[in-house]
């Protein structure tokens, strides 16, 4: 750790070698470019092969700008307006159920001209901010757990009604991360899977379709052309990739059989083209990014900021791992993007804006009156 401290410090001017903030921004940009290549690879045989990659590149440039802009805004601006931001984002989640458009069976997008905006993606970073803020207001213990769980429940309810269960899963992961970092009890957290399994069991009882999907995940060979179809296709796609991949642009199986090869299945389509040796580095780079965020969180001045900074990094990791786990059939199929790499302006901008706010929280653009400010005081 001492050696790492020597080489990784928070911001320019403090660092003798390499500022962490620059490393994080550089890695995000690199992953974004990697994503553009992955999207092009997955849509090469489409009618307009440059349509998706062109738009994604535009979003990436805009997102990088927004990240830098958000990082420059003093963190106190976000913190002081957290109630307003929470209400605004919550209204957008409710409004999309009424005014939104349905895409791939989910009513989760606003349509502005020919641009689609997904509020549940954009709200992720602000949800973490709200959870950190309101969580600190509850007395530690069961009361804090119940309060934060209630906020999460209210937040995910409109998303579950879209229905977008993949995103619900990410928000629940966000709740677990924030609660745990705020000295949450392990025993309280056990209530989360217990509740989730009970609700899932209750829903499955009334919905045989979901039961078949779970059976299809557990034993795809029982119904390879029906409920086991998606799991089977992921397995075949990865197998075609092998160790070194088919060839760049040869994501033929992903293009022909996988749903949304450029967004929800982008990791599998990348695995088909580049093989294990080409996709494993994506996991490694994401790991380095999360570790850099961890190191950065230790530099933050107050506990509130530490929790917020690390939660953003871990939420990014959790979403990435849910996507990868679905794509490698470690988890049942659910639609979720691979942050920064998958196609989608809302997903990309949401991640980069969250990282911008995170960099602001870790920075020292404002004076904190006392270095001994604790979590609840800030």
């Amino acid at each position: 750790m001492k050696i790492l401290d020597k080489y990784f410090t928070a911001f320019p001017g403090e660092s003798p070698v390499f500022p962490l903030a620059m490393l994080i921004q550089g890695l995000l940009f690199m992953l974004g470019l990697w994503g553009c290549l992955a999207i092009y690879n997955a849509t090469m045989y489409a009618v307009s092969p440059f349509y998706f990659v062109g738009r994604q590149l535009l979003w990436l440039v805009l997102g990088m700008g927004l990240m830098m802009f958000c990082a420059r805004i003093p963190f106190s601006v976000y913190r002081d307006n957290v109630e307003l931001l929470t209400v605004l984002f919550y209204i957008s989640l409710l409004a999309v159920l009424i005014f939104g458009v349905r895409i791939n069976g989910m009513k989760g997008w606003f349509m502005v001209g020919n641009i689609f905006i997904q509020p549940s993606e954009l709200a992720k970073g602000f949800f973490i901010l709200a959870l950190c803020h309101f969580g600190g207001k509850f007395r530690p213990g069961m009361r804090r757990f119940a309060g934060m769980a209630l906020i999460t429940l209210l937040w995910v309810l409109p998303i579950a009604l879209q229905p977008d269960f993949g995103t619900v899963l990410v928000y629940i992961a966000g709740f677990i991360i924030v609660y745990w970092l705020m000295n949450g009890s392990f025993w309280h957290l056990l209530l989360v899977p217990a509740t989730l399994f009970s609700i899932a069991g209750w829903i499955i009882n009334f919905n045989p379709y979901l039961l078949n999907r779970i059976l299809g995940y557990l034993c795809p060979e029982l119904d390879p052309l029906g409920f086991g179809w998606h799991i089977r296709q992921f397995q075949f796609t990865l197998a075609r990739g092998g160790l070194w991949g088919m060839k760049w642009g040869k994501a033929l199986w992903a293009n022909s059989y996988l749903p949304l090869a450029h967004s929800d299945s982008v990791f599998a389509s990348l695995a088909e083209s580049l093989g294990f040796m080409g996709t494993f580095p994506v996991i490694v780079v994401m790991g380095i990014l999360v570790f850099a965020v961890f190191r950065l969180s230790l530099k933050a001045e107050t506990e509130f900021r530490k929790v917020f900074v690390l939660s953003i990094g871990l939420l990014f990791a959790a979403q990435a791992l849910i996507h990868i786990s679905v794509n490698v059939t470690l988890m049942p199929a659910t639609g979720i993007t691979l942050p920064v790499l998958s196609y989608g302006g809302s997903s990309l901008l949401s991640t980069l804006i969250s990282f911008g706010i995170m960099l602001s929280a870790a920075g020292r653009h404002e004076t904190i009156s006392s270095s001994k400010v604790n979590y609840n005081q800030e």
Partner: protein, 229 residues
Amino acid sequence: MENSTDNFKIRALQLLWCILIWAILASCWLFYYSVFARQKYMELGNKIAVRQGTYYAGRGRILDKNDRVLAWSEKYFDLYLISSEEDQNIRNMALHKVMEILPDAAFHRVKDSDFLLKREISPDKIIELEPLLTKFPDLKILPRTERKVVDYAEVRNYIGRVEFKDGNQHGVSGIEKDYDSILAGTCGIYEVMLDRHKNWVQGTWLLKRKAISGNDVKLDVSLEEIKKN
């Protein structure tokens, strides 16, 4: 402060370990399918998607003693709507789009939910239709080979008929039957990957056996003699 920072660090590291274990598990799964069990899943996948087919060899022509062509084969392309679902809206939308390119296209029911929209499409129209085939996977352009004979009843009887069998034309009566072994040739064999709509995936066509065209047959009678008899 010191205690709280240490506590945060410990909890953060615990979460990082969870993430690391999850990442290792996902990587192991990836390795299993890409390397360890690759062969098994490749074979299973190929059973679903890879198909072998035969392609027409080209039947030889039948000439009279003056080298006038009496029978020959011609290839045409027809546009079909082979619908898996009886969805009238999708069908009408597809036809509407097709009619922008082929104004005289119309529904002619072939089977339960299969419709012939237009026979004998020209190559330039096929190129124009290509984007529509991606948008409406139920639209299909299917090749058809027709055996043509000079338009005299006596000649048609004398030359005889052909039928399609195993991807090739075979004579079933008249000269076509008598000289079938010379005229027929050998079908080519190819392998191709199909997508979930059973359309060919671009760039996957693989030649397994080259087709050998049939030879021409020259008769020792002339067209006029056949007409007289």
